[in-house]
């Protein structure tokens, strides 16, 4: 029955074109025109909306991309034609050189990826946790929200550079390492304390190092979690309250509700945030690799470009890996 209804409504939609005044002639009758279905006309309108982007990509972005790829595979020749640069194609020479020469590219890359593997889960878990808390009714919620989203606005670009070179606050901050790497004496907890704590639990040394580094990097993790918090909060808001009501009536505890309702419903956001965190971490001014590549560029921009393309491919691989992991637990609610 409902299937039939659906069919009927679909047919109705298609067969009821919108009539503009411009389509009527002076007698108020429909002008003779080529029959264009509503869907086709809507599709055309859709193209108009995305036209700026299509034009930008075709006219400007693609040439820039091709240029960049070409630069990474060619060497400039100033001698052949005087006053003009001729580019000799050298293939993957720079790419191979990046891995084989003594510039330390591989080391930086591995360090960058390690940093990322440590940071992404921390940022995601932290921002999800804070979003869940900020979604509950509590004293001073509006003020806390305002404070928590503050870093989104003021901790990018120039401020990031200033933060990184600032050891004043690290010294006065008695216990909070602000990520400048110079607050060694001021770490909140030392590895020793945590080891004591974990000794009885028989867990590996890696975990201890991980926990310690997260706690000591808490300032950066909080600062990098702003947008993710917003996205999670938006996701939480979109969960229908009636689901929670049903859970309460059936006697589910808060813990069960979180893992059986909130988590599956928010899981698409985890993928989005995972991808965003990777992009954000990789393209940040203070990223190890970005700094390394800029340093290389002083010597040869061509080689640096090749390195950045390798770097980009690595980002893509990591994002693909995150998407693959996430797809195993992501739950998409059917919306009718």
């Amino acid at each position: 029955m409902s299937e039939n209804l659906n069919q009927v409504s679909e047919e109705l939609e298609v067969s009821a074109p919108v009539i503009d005044n411009s389509e009527l002639d002076s007698n108020g009758l429909l002008k003779k025109r080529k029959k264009v279905s509503l869907d086709a006309r809507k599709a055309r309108a859709g193209y108009v909306f995305v036209l700026p982007f299509i034009l930008g990509v075709v006219l400007i972005y693609l040439p820039i991309l091709l240029d960049s790829i070409w630069f990474s595979m060619s060497s400039p020749d100033y001698a052949t034609v005087p006053g003009d640069i001729v580019y000799d194609f050298v293939g993957f020479e720079y790419y191979i050189a990046a891995f084989t020469d003594s510039s330390g590219f591989t080391v930086s890359l591995v360090a960058g990826i390690q940093q990322l593997i440590f940071e992404v889960p921390a940022v995601i878990i932290f921002s999800l946790f804070i979003a869940v808390v900020l979604n509950q009714k509590m004293l001073g919620r509006a003020a806390f929200r305002a404070i928590f989203f503050l870093p989104v606005i003021v901790s990018t670009g120039i401020m990031e550079t200033i933060n990184a070179s600032d050891f004043m606050s690290a010294q006065s901050q008695e216990g909070i390492n602000d990520g400048s790497g110079q607050g060694g004496a001021n770490e909140i907890i030392s590895a020793l304390d945590v080891e004591k704590l974990f000794a009885s639990m028989k867990v590996g040394g890696e975990l201890v190092t991980y926990v310690v580094s997260i706690v000591n990097d808490v300032y950066n993790i909080i600062n990098y979690s702003g947008v993710q918090m917003l996205i999670f909060l938006a996701g939480l808001q979109s969960i229908s309250p009636s689901i929670y009501e049903a859970c309460r009536i059936d006697g589910a505890t808060g813990w069960e509700t979180f893992w059986k309702v909130t988590f599956p419903m928010i899981s698409p956001m985890i993928l989005v945030n995972g991808v965003y965190t990777v992009i954000d971490a990789f393209t940040r001014t203070e990223n190890t690799m970005i700094k390394f590549i800029e340093k290389q560029a002083i010597g040869s921009t061509y080689k640096a470009t090749a390195m950045s393309w390798i770097y980009f491919l690595v980002i893509m691989l990591i994002i693909a890996a995150i998407a693959a992991i996430a797809s195993s637990f992501i739950f998409y609610q059917r919306r009718d």
Binding site: A45, L55, V58, I60, Y61, S169, Y311, F312
Partner: protein, 349 residues
């Protein structure tokens, strides 16, 4: 109902107070509540949660406090270990010298103009593209969304060695390394020289390719997906065209989300030094990166001072405070829209 003589004593938007015969006194009700363990657990959770939030807020806000405090200190206070947050010798000199000698106001107005134009364009363009991707089924819809994501993933820093030349000698459809002439050069006889102007940023903004525009487009798309189709359908039935519907019905609806995007793009453009560094090279066009880059001359004379390294940091932090001060004021006014816009977006996958 039994208690027919129940009457409402107070009624507000969120709560209603009712008095009825046999109602226990406030004290008795509280006592009976306290006897159940549940209340204690709730109170404990609330307290722990509040303290945790306070702690995280402290981590976020402390650098601001310490920087603001430091900006009022003289160089003697900075090396004085007994001074932590309240300066002994209060001074405004650091601010004064940065504002006068590092051309703060000039940089302020230049940056304001750039950020306003870029943010307005980016917000509008993100709306257009997001709406097109969310509400219209056309061939290549998914492909375009994919390109949006990829354009965000490829760091512009990767491309900087080809972005800059492309705008210094601007032409469309040219791969400069291949050395052929583009349409603009064929028609005008020369390429357009766009550096030291706002055009590169305007062009990038209009085409939705500027800094983090992929994120804006994604957020707008998700927002528009949450807007029920019936709204537009009823407008179409009433004879409104696609564009009129968009500008008169959909845009007014999405103001909170647009303010969110505007806030993002404005403040990210405000603190940007990568793009302004790429496109501006003239020495007498001041930008925010000039404000914090080098300490003002009047303070440079203290270079021989023992705590110069620390002092230099304080100067830089003060400049940083001056740079973000307008953003903080803007944020105070807009932050409620930030949460509102996101809350109403109903983001789903």
């Amino acid at each position: 109902m039994e208690n027919s003589n129940a009457y409402v004593t107070k009624e507000t938007k969120n709560s209603i107070h009712v008095d009825y015969e046999g109602k226990l006194s406030f004290k008795e009700r509280m006592m009976s509540k306290l006897k159940t363990g549940n209340t204690w657990i709730k109170v404990a959770i609330n307290v722990i949660r509040f303290i945790l939030m306070l702690g995280v807020s402290y981590v976020i806000l402390y650098p601001f406090f310490s920087r603001i405090a430091g900006s009022f200190m003289t160089k003697e206070d900075i090396v004085d270990s007994t001074v932590s947050l309240i300066p002994k010798h209060f001074t405004l000199d650091t601010y004064k010298f940065i504002i006068t000698e590092n051309h703060y106001f000039s940089a302020f107005f230049n940056t304001l103009l750039i950020s306003l134009v870029c943010a307005l364009l980016q917000t509008l363009v993100a709306c257009l593209i997001g709406y097109g991707l969310a509400k219209f089924k056309f061939k290549g819809n998914t492909l375009i969304m994919l390109i949006v994501v990829v354009s965000m993933i490829i760091p512009h820093r990767t491309l900087q060695y080809s972005i800059a030349p492309h705008f210094i000698n601007f032409d469309i459809l040219t791969v400069q390394a291949w050395g052929y002439k583009g349409p603009i050069e064929l028609i005008l006889g020369k390429t357009l020289i766009l550096n030291n102007s706002m055009w590169p940023l305007i062009i990038l903004s209009i085409t939705g390719l500027a800094f983090k525009n992929g994120l804006y487009i994604y957020l707008m798309r998700q927002f528009f997906k949450g807007v029920p189709d019936e709204l537009e359908e009823s407008a179409y039935v009433d004879g409104s065209g696609v564009f009129r519907t968009f500008f008169q019905i959909i845009l007014p609806l999405s103001v909170p989300m647009m303010i969110t995007i505007f806030l993002f793009s404005f403040s990210w453009q405000w603190t940007d030094e990568f793009y302004t560094g790429l496109f501006w090279s003239s020495a007498d066009f001041y930008l925010m990166s000039d404000v914090y880059g080098t300490p003002p001359d009047s303070l440079l004379q203290y270079q021989t001072f023992a705590g110069w390294g620390l002092y230099q940091n304080v100067i830089q932090n003060t400049a940083g405070m001056l740079i973000i001060a307008p953003l903080l004021i803007l944020y105070l006014f807009c932050q409620k829209y930030l949460v509102q816009g996101i809350e109403r977006s109903g983001l789903v996958g």
